[in-house]
């Protein structure tokens, strides 16, 4: 591994000059530049990232903190982040937090010791303080942390409003809403959307249950509820995985989808399309969410100005096989 000193010697200049050339700052004469470049290619020189970080106190690492990559919503997000990070020369460190504040804090500290360039975080507000004190570029993804921290998020309220309305329009009279965990802002916004849509109509009965974003809980609670309330003829959920649970519950109860009961999810995970019948849902542009977050983070890292602190990406109702209209 050639060092900057080898290059300098080979080119007959000083290391300072090579450094300047490498970083494109400060003056370097045209002929000198030539010589340096030649030396670099001759020696097949590659800069040592660690040494550089030590002096600049800055690396090109990006910390991606999310609850659990195993939740089908996140892989696409992570992929998007990684893709744009790569094109800008950054590298992403994967951190599964399990929504555990301690784990998040740990990762943050570990990465700070590595002079991480910034963070992209999907976390609830339980950990706001940690992030507020963090003197690093960062962006909140899918869930706001604090109004002062740039945030990229879907229009959750509108999405659930749309899905609820569409269920109503296609004739549902007894609507069950499977809420998410309301301490997560995105989830409570979705709930709000549901309620707004319900407020617009008179003769539709509202049913509620709460479940986390997991299959099992959703399945069990929906099944129990439907057993007690067989009049329900439409289900809107706060996540696609919850919708899968609802589908299972309905199937086991012998309900035909969408004839007897309609179901519409939320998220737009890729697996929704692979189902038979495919899942009707409110699709978030998950990839875009991740890509924007990465782009915005990198802007901050590179000291470019941000247009806004709040980026909302639109959401799209997609009717597939589990709804009638």
């Amino acid at each position: 591994m050639a060092t900057i000193r080898d290059v300098a010697k080979h080119a007959g200049v000083s290391v300072a000059t090579v450094s300047r050339y490498l970083n494109g700052k400060g003056y370097v004469g045209a002929d000198t530049a030539q010589a340096v470049q030649r030396a670099i290619t001759d020696l097949n020189y590659e800069m040592n990232a660690v040494a550089r970080s030590l002096t600049t106190k800055q690396s090109n690492l990006i910390g991606l903190i999310l609850p659990d990559i195993t939740n089908p919503f996140f892989p696409e997000l992570a992929r998007a982040v990684e893709d744009v990070a790569l094109t800008y020369g950054y590298t992403v460190v994967l951190c599964n937090s399990d929504e555990n504040p301690e784990k998040e804090k740990n990762y943050i500290e570990t990465l700070q010791k590595k002079y991480v360039a910034g963070f992209i975080v999907t976390s609830s507000q339980h950990n706001r303080d940690v992030y507020m004190e963090l003197k690093k570029p960062m962006v909140a993804l899918d869930r706001p942390i604090d109004a002062s921290i740039p945030c990229v998020i879907s229009n959750n309220r509108q999405g659930l409003k749309d899905s609820t309305r569409s269920l109503i329009q296609s004739g549902c009279k007894e609507l069950l809403f499977v809420e998410g965990p309301n301490h997560i802002q995105s989830a409570s916004e979705r709930k709000q959307g549901f309620e707004e849509a319900m407020a617009e109509v008179q003769h539709v009965k509202e049913h509620h249950i709460q479940a986390n974003f997991h299959f099992d809980e959703s399945y069990e609670k929906v099944k129990a509820y439907l057993t007690a309330h067989p009049e329900v003829d439409g289900i809107a959920t706060s996540s696609d995985v919850a919708a899968l649970g609802a589908i299972r519950a309905c199937t086991e109860l012998g309900l035909a989808i969408p004839q007897d009961i309609q179901i519409i999810g939320f998220d737009g995970i890729q697996l929704g399309e692979m189902l038979s019948p495919p899942l009707s849902t409110v699709r978030q542009d998950i990839y875009k969410l991740g890509a924007m977050a990465a782009r915005i983070l990198i802007k901050q890292i590179e000291k470019e100005p941000l247009e806004s602190l709040y980026y909302e990406v639109p959401v799209e109702l997609v009717h597939r096989g589990t709804t009638r209209s």
Copy 2:
């Protein structure tokens, strides 16, 4: 941020002593140790990982190179790797290669400049040379790279043999096998398993098609094939996602699963259980695969001896809703 020098001063010792204490190597007197520890807690000292890397030429970064985190097989793998990496104090960098040798090479170089500790790689043999030259600890995950590189893998052959046999036992007479891309060794082993099972019986007809591990291609090819060969009464696939495609094809053709046609996948992705009906499959212990790979890599990094270069993890046939037996 306190440095080692601050600690030394505060404790009234030299930096070398502090360093020794920190690393637990070399002698440090009991009382000195006390003083150093006090200084550390007093100053809230945290070691600078970059400076350390610069001298030791070693970091605690692990590169995880896989085709695409968006493929449902990988998130669980990544999670497992991350979990064990964390418990051993390592940090994982996520690299999506798209099976592109250039991208892999790039990541490898980028990470080497950071003194990465080692690599966990899911790659085909197209890139064997790159890895053979790589003087770093590494382990091949899910796909062997070279006999000299430690490898963690499922018993693919046995798995497909089991699934095929079970289809035969439950009465299938016209079996379609949806192959994966055979340049991937795991895929060709699965094919071999299928053929071995078929060789055991007389009056079962064999059908083949090839598809990659993606939904769309599988769906289209299966649909076309079934249209031309309606006699097929059982489908074994080389991946769960391919099975999803097959399910869609059957559904659209009005075939009842598992009454008219049985389907069995391979992988054991979590979404298989969330389907209605849930997918029968050959379950790999994906988490274990990832966890073992990480453990084995770390052993190498920490110069512990390896028992073997080949770790095969068993596979389990699970009958759920898409098969009759």
